[in-house]
Symmetry: C2
Subunit: 475 residues, 2 copies
C-alpha cells in the first residue's frame, strides 16, 4: 500500500498555497513565507482570489489559473471550503495535498461528514492527502515547510537522520523546537492529523525506504488499522529502529485521547507486550523518544549488553551504576590486563574498577588514553563517557578526543553524559554535531543505553548468528 | 549537637585564604578572587609566605600576621601541610574552617591518618571544620564563595529559598551550574566532603533553623551516624521539606560508592521505606531532586491529591494524564457547575473534561478566565498548567496571568509545564522568577506534583486535622 506519490510531499517541483494571505497573522501567510524565504528551490504559487500579489510575488485567483503543473498543494482555508479546494487540486492534477485546516472529525458530526468527503475524493482520484487538522510537513533538505508557526517561536532543526511523525501537531511543534535548540537533526517531519487519507502506517512504509532516514520516531495515540500497523511495524523494525511514544496508555490518558484525537487506545500491558514482540522501542516519556532515537541513529548496535562507564565525577558514576542496574544493564568487569594498562595512564587516586573514576583532575588527554584501553577490552560492548566540564582541567578539546575514539572503535556504541548549565549545553551541542548522542543526566543516558541494547537484541533474534567469540569469559 | 558556630561558615566578618596564590590556575587564587570580586562585605586576608600582594591586595606570610580577628579560614594547601595550617587556625582563634584540599581518607592509609588528626584537633578545640576533599560553601547573599571553579564554567545561582548539601563536590558543582542557568535560587550550598568534623546531619540541623531556607535538598551516598541522622531527619521533616537523592541504591551503585566516598550504602527497599516513614522525599534521579524542591519551596502544600490539568496542546494533556495515573495522582472530576461556567469562556472545540484542552487557539486571557473558574471548584487540590508557547496566539503575558492566579488562589499549588527550545526556555525562566515551579516535560511536572502531595500527606499524618469540608463529594 506504500505509495511513491508520497515523495511529492517532500520533494515537489512546484507548490501552491491555497489560502496564501497578505495578513501576517494568517496561517496561509506564514506558510507562503516559509517557501519564499527558506531556500526552497521549486516554483511557489500563492492562491488568493482577492490579492494581486503577496510578499512581492504574483498571486493567482485560483489553482486553475496557475500556468504550470503543481506537485504539492497546501490548503489553509476555512473548513467549509476545503472540500471544494481539494476538488480543484484533483482537477489541476496535483500529486499531493496537505490540509492544514481544522474543523473536521475532531469538531463534531458536520466536520466528520466533510472529512468523509475528503477521504472519498482522495480514494477515487488517487491524489494523496495528509491531514486535515495538522501542521503538515517539514523537510530540512528540500525546505518544504508547511508549519504555520513563526520561526522565532518554533525554530526549525537542521538536516539529520531521524524521521519524526506525530498524530498531535502541538506535540510535533514543541519537540521540533526542542530538537532545533539541541542541535538534533531530522530527515523528515510529518504531522498527519486526522488521517483522512495517508495513515501513520503508510508513512512508516515510506520512511523505511527513505535513504535519508536511519531511525523513525513517532508520537501516536492510536492507529487507523491495527493489523496493517502490526504488519508494517514488523517490516520496519527488521530494517530500521522505530521508537514510539504512545499517548493514552492509562485509563486517565485514554479518556484524554478520546477528546483529543478520538483514538481508541489499548491496554497498557498489551501495548508494551506488542511493542516488545515487534522490536519497537517504547519511549515512556517525551525525553525518552529522542534520547533513544539519537543513540539508535548515530551509533552502531552493540554486540551485547555489557557497559563500561568512564567519569571524572564519582557521584555521577554512582548514579549511572544505579540506573544501569535498575534497567537490567550489567556493568562489565574489566579484565586484569585492562586494569594494569589503565594503572599506567590514569591520574592519581583514580578508581580502576567500572565505573572508572578519573577524578576531577582528569584532562581530555587522560580520557583519550583511558578510552583507548577500555575499548580494546573484548568484554566491553558499550561505552558511556561522563565528562563534567565545570572543572578547569577539561578543555573543550574533549569533544575531539571523544569523536576520535568514536571513529576508531566504530563498532562499539559510545554515548556521553554531562550535567550543568550554559557551558555544558554548548558541550552537549558540539558532541551532538559529531554524532555522539549526549545526555544531560545519568538517568537519560542509561535509558538510551537500554534502548540500543533492546533493539540490538531484537535484531539478533531475527538473524541468529554464532556469538562473537570473546577472548575471555565475561562477567 | 547543632552548633551556632556553623553560622560563621555563611556570615563571617573576616575571611583568610590559606594558599591564596598569584597563579591563576591554583585553587587558592580562584577562591581569593571570589571573595575580592563578588561583593563579599567583610575583610579578606590572603595568606601566602612567598607573595607580597595578590590581585593588588597585601598578602600575609602567615595567619599569625593578620592584624585583626578571623572568623572563617579556607585552606587550599597541599595535604601534607593542612594539619599544621588547621593548628594555626586554632591558635589564631578562627571560628570555622573549610578544608578544600584532597589527599585524606579517600587517598589511602596515610591520608586517613591525616584526617584523623584533623578530627581530633577539631573536637579538642571546638573549631568547626567542613571538609576535607570538598568544594566547600557558597552563600549567594553574603557572597561567601569557596568554589574553586571559574565562573564561566560554573555559574553561581541567585539568592533563593532552597538549601543544597552534597557529599560529592562534582555533583554539587554540576547541579549549581544547572540551577544558575535555570534561574533557580538557592539559600546556601555546602559540599561537605569527607566529614572529618561537620556531618550531613549537623548541617541539616542548622538549615532547619535557617530563616532563609524553605526546603532542603541533599545528595548523599551514606551518612556518618545512622541513628543520629534518623533523629535529625524526623525533626527536619516536621518543619521543612527534605528531598534526598541517595547514590548507591543498587549493588552496582554501592560498589561504585565504595571507591568514591567509601560510604556503606543500605538495601534499596529499606532506604525507600525509611525515607517514606520519615517524610523524606526521595528523588530517583538528578532531575527529580530540584524538581521536587522547587515545587515544595515555592508552593503551598495541597489539601488533597486531586489534580486539574489545563492545556493548549491535547497530546501533552494525554501524556500528563498517563503519568499522573502511573504516579497514583487522581485527575479531579470537574463539577457540572464548573463545566457550565467553562463552557461560556473557552475557545471553540475545547474539551471541558479534565484535562481541560483549550486547543492551540487559546490565548493568555483564555487561560486566566479558565483558571479562575477551575481554582474555585472545591474538589481541585492542585493545578497543572501546560502552555505550549510555539503557537502565536499565546503572548508572553501568560506569565503575568499565571502569576496572578498563583497569588489569588494562594492555597492551591500551581505548577507549570512547557516543552520546546529557546523561547520555551525563556518562558520557563520567567515563570521560575515568579515562584511558579515550571517543568520542561509532563513526566517531570507530575513527579513534582507527586512530591508535594507525598510531603503534604506526611505532614497531615503528623497533625491529623478534621478534613477540609468539601461542598460536594469529590471523585
Amino acid at each position: 500500500m506504500s505509495d511513491d506519490a508520497l515523495r511529492y510531499f517532500f520533494n515537489p517541483s512546484s507548490v501552491a498555497i491555497l489560502g496564501a494571505s497578505r495578513q501576517i497573522r494568517k496561517f496561509g501567510h506564514t506558510i507562503f513565507k516559509n517557501f519564499v524565504r527558506s531556500g526552497y528551490q521549486g516554483k511557489v504559487y500563492p492562491i488568493n482570489p482577492k490579492a494581486k500579489d503577496i510578499l512581492g510575488q504574483k498571486a493567482y485567483p485560483s489553482l486553475a489559473d496557475v500556468p504550470g503543473p503543481v506537485d504539492l498543494a497546501v490548503i489553509a482555508l476555512p473548513a467549509a471550503i476545503v472540500v471544494k479546494a481539494f476538488s480543484d487540486c484533483i482537477d489541476k492534477g496535483v500529486k499531493a495535498v496537505v490540509v492544514i485546516s481544522g474543523g473536521f472529525k475532531e469538531a463534531g458530526p458536520e466536520g466528520a461528514q466533510r472529512e468523509a468527503e475528503l477521504t472519498r475524493l482522495a480514494q477515487e482520484s488517487g491524489v494523496r492527502l495528509i491531514g486535515p487538522n495538522c501542521i503538515g510537513v517539514f523537510d530540512p533538505r528540500s525546505q518544504v515547510d508547511t508549519l504555520f508557526l513563526p520561526s522565532y517561536r518554533l525554530k526549525r532543526p537542521t538536516p539529520g537522520d531521524i524521521a519524526f511523525i506525530t498524530q498531535s501537531g502541538a506535540f510535533g511543534s514543541a519537540v521540533l523546537d526542542w530538537a532545533a535548540a539541541k542541535n538534533v537533526g531530522i530527515s523528515k517531519f510529518i504531522s498527519f492529523g486526522n488521517m483522512a487519507d495517508v495513515s501513520e502506517s503508510e508513512l512508516l512504509e515510506f520512511l523505511v525506504k527513505d535513504p535519508q532516514t536511519k531511525c523513525i520516531v513517532a508520537y501516536l495515540e492510536g492507529v487507523r488499522d491495527g493489523l496493517y500497523f502490526l504488519d508494517v511495524a514488523r517490516r520496519v523494525t527488521a530494517q530500521k529502529p522505530l521508537v514510539i511514544l504512545k499517548g493514552g496508555t492509562t485509563s486517565a490518558g485514554q479518556m484524554a485521547t478520546l477528546s483529543h484525537t478520538g483514538s481508541l487506545a489499548g491496554d497498557p500491558a498489551l501495548i508494551s507486550g506488542i511493542f516488545s514482540q515487534l522490536g519497537i522501542i517504547q519511549a515512556h516519556n517525551v525525553e525518552g523518544l529522542f534520547d533513544a532515537a539519537r543513540a539508535l541513529a548515530y551509533q552502531p548496535l552493540p554486540k551485547g549488553p555489557r557497559l563500561a562507564i568512564v567519569t571524572n565525577a564519582g557521584g555521577f558514576g554512582v548514579l549511572a551504576s544505579d540506573h544501569a542496574e535498575k534497567s537490567g544493564i550489567p556493568l562489565v568487569k574489566l579484565s586484569s590486563e585492562t586494569k594494569a594498562a589503565l594503572k599506567l595512564v590514569v591520574p592519581p587516586n583514580s578508581s580502576l574498577s567500572n565505573p572508572v573514576d578519573l577524578t576531577g583532575s582528569a584532562n581530555e588527554e587522560d580520557y583519550g588514553k583511558v578510552l583507548n584501553i577500555i575499548a580494546q577490552d573484548p568484554c566491553v560492548d558499550m561505552l558511556l563517557v561522563m565528562v563534567l566540564v565545570q572543572t578547569s582541567s577539561i578543555e573543550s578539546d574533549v569533544v575531539d578526543v571523544l569523536t576520535e575514539v568514536n571513529e576508531i572503535y566504530s563498532d562499539i556504541p559510545l554515548l556521553a553524559c554531562t550535567v550543568g548549565g550554559e557551558y555544558t549545553e554548548a558541550t552537549l551541542c558540539m558532541l551532538e554535531d559529531n554524532q555522539i548522542p549526549s545526555f544531560p543526566s545519568p538517568a537519560r543516558a542509561i535509558t538510551a543505553v537500554r534502548a540500543i541494547w533492546d533493539y540490538a537484541y531484537y535484531r539478533q533474534s531475527l538473524a541468529p548468528k554464532p556469538r562473537r567469540r570473546r577472548k575471555r569469559k565475561c562477567d
